[in-house]
Each structure stands twice: as C-alpha cells, then as structure tokens.
C-alpha cells in the first residue's frame, strides 16, 4: 500500500479529535465487511460530526461504511473500497418521545432492545422483532430492512417510519418526512433509505410511529404433513376476519437449527400469535382450532407463555442460529405472495436435492420466505453457484423477488447476491448519483454493483 492511508488517518484525527478516531486492530477488525478491513473507525457523537467525517471522506475520495451493532455487515456484495468505518453506536439517544402522540424520534445508533424497554415502560412498542435483538441498532435495521414477523400486522419500516435525517455522500445533513403520523410534504426520501445498505446516506435520526402493547397474547401451532397443507392454512387465515400478529411456517428440516422442543418433529408447523384483549385472543383460538381441524391438521396446540416466548425468540433469531450452526449456509430471502409459497418451497427443495444440498425453509409474515441451503457432511462449499442461479430463476418465473441475504464471502465471487437487475436499475443508478455523486458510500455493496 502507498503511504496515503496513514496520512489520511492523521488528517482525520486532526479533524475529528483523537477520542473519536480508533485504529486499534480489534475494533477495526470488528468492522470488517467480507474480510475487507477499513483503515480506521470513526465514532461520531452527533449528526454534525457524521457530516464532518463524510465531507472529509468525500474530499479525499475515501470509502465509508456506516456500522452499528456489526451484526449484519455480511449482507450485500463485498465493497469495492473501504477506508473508514463510521461507528454510529455513540449516537444512541432518544431525541423525542411523545407517548401521548404515539411518536418517537431516535438517533440511529440506539440499540433496538434498549429502545423497546423505554417504550415498554409506557406500554408501547415498535414492531421490530428482529434478529440480533440485543445488539442490533435502529440504523442497521433500517439500512438492511430487517424482517420482523410482525410485518403481517403492522407492515414494514416503510409503513411506520415517519421521517429520517441522514448525511448524504457529499456530507450534507438532510431530512425528509417529519414527526407526525400523516404527512405528504415533499418527497419521501426516507423510503429510499430503507434497505439501501448505507449506499445513499448515513442515517442519523429516525422518527417512528409507536404502537400500544396488546393486553393479551397467545401462540398457537397447527402442524401438517406437507408444506402445501400448511400454506393453505396461511391463505385461509388471510381470508378470515382474524388478524394475527404473527404467522410463520416452519419446515421440519429447520427444527434442528431452531433447536425447538415445542414444534412437532417431522411436520410443517404454522405458528400463529394472536393479540388483543382476552376475548379477541379466545376468538382466535376457537376459530383457528376449527380451521386446523377442517384442514386435517395433524396437531393443534395452544402454547404456554413460556413456550411461546422461547419459540418466538428462536424464530426471531433464525438467521443467526443458522450462522452459528452452519456458517457456510446460503440464506435466500424471497418476497413472495401467499399462493406462490408452496410451489416455491417445492421447487427449491427439488433444486437442493438435485444438487446434493441440504435445505430448509421458514416463511415469515405470511409471505416472506427464507430458504437455507448448505452442504451436509462438512466438506468445502463449492458448486453452490448453479443452485443459486436456479433459485433466482425459479423465484423470478413465478413473480417472487429473491436475494441472497447471507452467504460465505467466497460464493460472492461467483454469484451476485442481489440477483439479476431489472428494468428499474437505471433509475436506481440515477438515485445513487444524486445522493452520493463521488461514490464513497459503501461502494459496490448494493444491487448491480451500486
């Protein structure tokens, strides 16, 4: 390497102050993305400081990746360049919380678990039951559009984020939206930020609408012999007047990963959580029991609170459990439609079988499918590329939208984890150019090499 990195680090220290710039190897290593290490970690304490660092990076053409709890840095393609990790975890404050208005504004580096505790004291919550609960930050959850099972009842971040502040690739602190629950003033730029993996801006503040905690909750499990029968129940629930807050389908092959004692072995389980007042919960139990019976479920049970808590925790941490037990697994995230689920599950199962891979699936929030593929027997992972391409094609053929959310870095040399680009890619490139004209924000990590 040239001498440039040392000199830019010195200049950054001069600008941001020695206490905000960290070069020790453990911290730097913890911010690696696909085995690529930054030269330095900056820890801004305010949005203005974020802007200052990004302006510096833009002037010096240094690549910046924002990091929070460092739980989801493996998502996306390897960065083309990576000089500065922008550690947002010092920005962990609640900036405005108006429980009477059910609105909230927080700094992006706040941990979701501690935020939920603050809201819980006022009997409120955010529908973000996301993996790495104890470490994930709001900024990272937004940037990766993390999947929460509660989407089926409350929608995703695009539905309950009211506004954002962010620093663009030119180091300008900008905002869109607002703090009120209804707003059409100006463009919804914050919608572009959600899921953009830090390629458009560094999120510094997020405003949310909050929700009341339900007074009662209960979890039910209906178990079936096949994916088709299980997903038929999901569709029947969608057509019923019921409004469960969780509907997940668990493949029996996923049970060893979940290490769940609650779900019956060898069967496809539909996990349903109902919430509301006691009568609403009772009604869900009665109707679901009847629907399970009518659809020839092998089992139907209502879980104890403790079993429910453990099971929902394991389902929430599903992708993390996969990485703990099968670090080389490939995890697809497929946005689907209720009628496509069974067909996709069967197709992916067939592809896995043909290519000698083990596989399992979990359907979240009624239509978001996680497919997991791994090689049994612990031999080196190779030959996964054709199977991945086939899965992209299979999803595409029925109108599903697939990405590989997690896979080993080596596979990213052979497969673009975002799948093929579409007709809208040209517009995405134009957006990138607007927000980050120099191309310093997480370059190369996103769709089509953005």
């Amino acid at each position: 390497m040239s001498t440039r990195p040392t000199s830019f680090v010195e200049r950054l220290v001069r600008l941001a102050g020695p206490s905000s710039v960290i070069t020790d190897s453990t911290t730097v290593e913890s911010c690696s993305v696909d085995d690529i290490r930054p030269a330095v970690v900056a820890q801004p304490g305010s949005a203005e400081e974020v802007a200052e660092v990004v302006r510096f990076a833009a002037a010096e053409k240094l690549a910046v990746i924002p990091v929070g709890g460092r739980t989801k840095l493996g998502i996306g393609m390897p960065p083309q360049r990576y000089d500065i990790a922008l550690d947002m975890t010092r920005m962990d404050h609640v900036l405005a919380y108006d429980p009477g208005d059910l609105t909230l504004g927080v700094e992006a580096g706040i941990g979701v678990e501690s935020l939920l505790e603050v809201l819980g004291e006022r009997n409120q919550f955010l529908p973000l039951l996301v993996p790495w609960m104890e470490r994930a930050t709001i900024g990272g959850i937004m940037a990766t559009n993390s999947v929460s099972p509660l989407r089926i009842a409350y929608g995703g971040p695009r539905d309950f984020v009211l506004g954002m502040e962010f620093v663009t690739g030119e180091g300008k602190l900008c905002k869109s939206g607002g703090r009120v629950v209804k707003n059409v003033t100006g463009y919804d730029l914050h919608k572009l930020m959600i899921g953009s993996l830090g390629t458009l801006g560094v999120i510094t503040r997020v405003n949310f609408r909050t929700f009341p905690l339900p007074s009662a909750q209960r979890t039910f499990v209906a178990a079936y012999a096949s994916a088709r029968e299980a997903t038929a129940l999901v569709q029947a629930i969608a057509k019923s007047p019921l409004s469960p807050r969780v509907v997940e389908v668990v493949d029996p092959a996923a049970l060893p990963i979940l290490r769940s004692q609650t779900l019956p072995a060898g069967l496809w389980s539909v996990v349903i959580a109902a919430a509301g007042n006691d009568k609403v919960v009772e009604r869900h139990q009665a109707d679901l029991a009847r629907m399970a019976h009518d659809s020839a479920a092998k089992e139907f049970q209502s879980l104890t609170d403790e079993d429910s808590r453990v099971l929902q925790g394991r389902l929430r941490e599903f992708v993390r459990h996969i990485q703990d037990s099968r670090p080389a697994a490939v995890i697809f995230r497929v946005s689907s439609l209720p009628t496509l689920i069974a067909e996709l599950v069967e197709k992916v199962g067939a592809i896995a079988k043909r290519t000698d891979l083990a596989s399992c699936s979990v359907v979240k929030a009624g239509s978001m499918i996680y497919f997991v593929l791994w090689r049994g027997g612990g031999e080196p992972e190779s030959g996964l590329q054709p199977a991945c391409e086939e899965i992209f094609a299979a999803a595409d053929a029925v109108g599903g939208r697939a990405v590989i959310e997690w896979c080993p870095t080596e596979l990213k040399r052979e497969v673009n984890v975002w799948g093929p680009t579409r007709g809208d890619f040209e517009l995405m490139k134009r957006m990138k150019k607007v927000f980050d004209p120099v191309g310093i924000l997480a370059p190369g990590r996103f769709v089509g090499g953005i």
């Binding site: 900008c174 209804k182 939208r401």
Partner: protein, 477 residues
C-alpha cells in the same frame, strides 16, 4: 402552442381525444383548490403506448405537461401552471387484473377509487384509502398525491397500499418499479414515486393491495358543548391507544352547515361532534366502543350516540364526506387548508385557529381527521375581492406557521402543489430542498413534467432549469 404539435396529437389519438378550443380548455383550468391555470391542449390517452407517443412528441416540441385524474385535488397539483399539455386519464379507467387470492389489483390510473372497492367487495375486499372525493377521484391521482381519508387513521394512506407502478418518464421511456410482492431488491422507487405529485414520472399502471372488510363496525357520534372537550377527548383516545379506524371532528359552525344540507342527524345546538368508528372482530369492536364511549363521557360529552344500523351509519358519513359541498352553499369561495400537528397539540391548535380567524376577520370552520392530527380549517371568503383573497391566503399561512411551530407539517394529504411550494422553506433547509430537487432532476431533467409545483421558485437549484413563471399564470385570480 405550436399547431404542428396539436396536429400530431390528433394523429396519435384521433380528433375526438384532443381539446384545443378556448371554451373546452376552460373546463380544465380549475381543480378543487383555489388556484387556476389553463392548459393549451388537453389529451385523453387510452393506453400506455399512446402515453409514450404523446410524451415523446411533447419532448420534441419542448411542451410542458401535467397529468390529471378527476381534478379533485386541493393543492393545484393537476393544473397546467405553465400552460402546455394536460393529459387526462379518464379513459385509462380499466381494472386490468384482480388477484383475489393474493389481495392485489392492477389498475389503470383513471380507475375511480370507489369503483375498485365496488368491484371487489363481493369477495369481502376493498381498497382502503378513502378520500372524501372517492366517488370521483382516480387512483392515479391518489398515487400522485399520496391521498388519505378518514380511515387512514387505522389503515394508512395510499403509499401503504401500493406495491408497484408502471412509469412513463419524460423522455418516453417505460419503467416498471416494484411489483405484486411486498418488496423488491434495490431502492424503494415505488415509495419515492407515490406522493411525488406528478413531478417525477407519469404513472400508467398501479398495483395495489386490497384489504379485507372488517367483520364488525360500530360508529359513534359524541356531542359536545365545547370544542375543548372534543379535542381533549381525541388526545385521551390517542394516549390510551384505543386506535379507532376513524376519528373525525366537526365544529359547531361546520356541523350546522352540514346538517342543513345533508340532515345527517348532527345536533344543531352543539359546539362540536366527534364521529368515531371502530372496526374489526366483534370481540374487539365491543371493547373499543365501550372504551371510546367512556373517554367521551369523561370529557363531558353531552351525548354518545351509537349508529343503530347501516342506514344511520351511512347518513353520518354522508354528513362528513359532503361537508365541503355544504360549505360551498354558504360562501362564494372557501379555502380548505390542510395541516398536521402532533395530536397532543390539538386543543391549543383549535384555540389558535379561532384566534387567527378573528384576527383576520374570517369565519373558519373546522372539519378534520382529528385522530391523525390532520387539520382542515375552512376559510370562507369572496374570491372576487382580491384583497379578501390575499387576506385568506395570509390567514392560511399563519395557521401553517403555527402547525410547524408545534412540530407539525405543511400538508397531511392534499399535497404541496402550487399552493404551498413557497412555504416549503418553513419546514425544509436549502440542503433538503436541493436534494429533493436533484431527485426530481434525475427523473425529470428538463423540468417539463408538472412544472412549478412542490418547490419554491426563490431557491433555484443550478441543475434544475425551471423557467420563471409568466406573470399571468402566477396570478391566482
């Protein structure tokens, strides 16, 4: 306007799909706002293909263009501020696909909001956004303005119900963004486009979510002796997180105007009423209705009436949704404002609006989505009197400034359009506005698509070549 361009329009669309005569164009110089601007030519495409041809021709002749649905918008979004071409989508009114199993519909932009609901309600489904103009307004217009309505309190506004769009860009390129699924890889361009007020692209096809009709509905009318009691009730309902499906307020002046016209059953001698609806499972609705009634009584409601049947319920809603028509009978002109505040600020804000009205010497009625904190003060004035008009605008601006000082915003559902574009700096910094304008320039580089909307003229952006307005078009009367 270049006659060769009009000839080309007729060649593309046929003579019966192009208007150019002065008296025909006058029909299109208004929308639901107090603004006015006349197009030079109005066309009625039937297909995306025709839209592409029109747009390409407009690009060659450098003609400004604006899309229009039913023209019910309230911020001048569908007016030809710089003249030029207006594309009216009333003939692109086909429902292209209904996917009952997956609760999706694919529609052309000219489909009327309520028509979609009527088409699918036999299957227990409906399209949730329900602006008061839903019998007339189009889904394309809803998408452009990110329209709301009373029931968005529980179900969200248009953007929460749109998953995909087909776009025609100002250069004639056709792009699909999003799809039927809830999400697509890459940036959420659908989320950007919905509510962009027709300034980024022309939407030619829309994929929407269909919602399931609730099993039970209860509608309550709470009657108050003071406005404060009514607004305090809303604060308390929000704080207790009862989340009704709709929570509307009419003040005494407005409800009397409505009652004389619609005979909905609003008590003529009250100071305010709340129209509150709870929906869902029978079990949930019973409980919610009890909770709502209790809060209303605690805040001195003189009466809490439960609609006995569908007929009574529909009558109450008819009163709400036809309110602007009722007001129109009483005043030569009225100016419907649209602002939002945190719900905790409702009581102080209603008091402030009353003071502002007195200060400027106007009667201001209030009928609004109280549960969202989405205000609609109605200022009664005579537009024929330029001094009054200016005073009405000043009154509205002062209300807006108050909303923003309370942590609110300029518009909750009507859009910025040409009504509030000059107020945008109250809420956004020059960096915010420049970024938004660069987003516009990325899709609409010449600025010919719906020019003069959303952004203030004062603060131009180097990359955006917006022509200064001719004085005649800028003058509102």
């Amino acid at each position: 306007m270049d006659q060769r361009f009009i000839r080309e329009m007729k060649e593309i669309l046929g003579w019966d799909s192009v208007l150019e005569r002065h008296e025909d164009l006058m029909m299109y110089e208004y929308d639901g706002s107090v603004e006015q601007a006349r197009p030079d030519c109005v066309v009625f495409p039937r297909t995306t293909d025709e839209v592409v041809k029109i747009v390409k021709a407009a690009a060659r002749y450098e003609v400004p263009m604006v899309g229009r649905g039913a023209g019910t918008g309230l911020s001048g979004g569908a007016l030809a501020r710089q003249g030029g071409l207006m594309m009216v989508f009333s003939r692109m009114n086909k429902i292209l696909e209904i996917d009952y199993e997956n609760q999706r519909a694919v529609v052309q932009p000219g489909v009327v909001n309520l028509d979609l609901t009527q088409e699918v309600e036999h299957a227990g489904l409906y399209f949730a956004p329900d602006p008061s103009s839903q019998k007339a307004c189009t889904i394309g217009g809803n998408v452009a303005e990110n329209a709301g309505g009373p029931h968005t309190l529980a179900y969200g506004v248009t953007t929460n119900h749109v998953t995909g769009l087909e776009l025609v860009l100002p250069d004639g390129g056709v792009v699909r963004v999003g799809g039927k699924t809830a999400e697509s890889p890459g940036y959420d361009l659908t989320g950007l486009l919905v509510g962009s007020e027709g300034t980024l692209a022309i939407v030619t096809e829309i994929t929407v979510k269909l919602s399931r009709l609730p099993e039970a509905v209860k509608t309550l009318l709470a009657v108050y002796e003071t406005v404060d009691d009514a607004t305090e009730t809303v604060v308390e309902i929000t704080a207790r997180a009862i989340t009704p499906a709709a929570c509307e307020m009419l003040d005494g002046w407005t409800l009397r105007a409505v009652e004389e016209f619609v005979h909905a059953g609003f008590p003529m001698d009250s100071a305010a009423v709340l129209l509150i609806e709870v929906e869902g499972l029978h079990e949930a609705v019973e409980w919610q209705a009890e909770q709502v009634s209790a809060v209303c009584r605690e805040h001195h409601a003189r009466e809490v009436r439960l609609a006995k049947d569908d007929r009574e319920r529909e009558l109450l809603w008819k009163g709400r949704k036809n309110a602007f028509g009722a007001v129109g009978r009483l005043s030569p002109s009225y100016y419907v404002q649209d602002g939002v505040i945190p719900r905790t600020k409702l009581p102080a804000t209603l008091r402030r609006i009353d003071e502002i009205g007195k200060k400027y010497g106007f009667q201001i009625g209030n009928i609004f989505h109280a549960g969202d904190g989405n205000l609609h003060p109605i200022i009664l004035f005579d537009q024929r009197d330029p001094e009054q008009f200016q005073r009405a605008v000043n009154t509205a601006n002062e209300i807006m400034q108050w909303c923003i000082s309370q942590g609110g915003v300029l518009t909750g559902e009507h859009g910025v359009g040409m009504e509030k574009n000059e107020l945008m700096p109250l809420l956004f910094s020059s960096d915010d506005l420049e970024l938004m304008q660069r987003v516009r320039a990325a899709l609409n580089p010449t600025g010919r698509l719906n020019p003069g909307k959303v952004f203030p003229f004062g603060k131009g952006c180097g990359e955006v070549r917006v022509q200064p307005l001719p004085v005649s078009a800028a003058s509102p009367v």
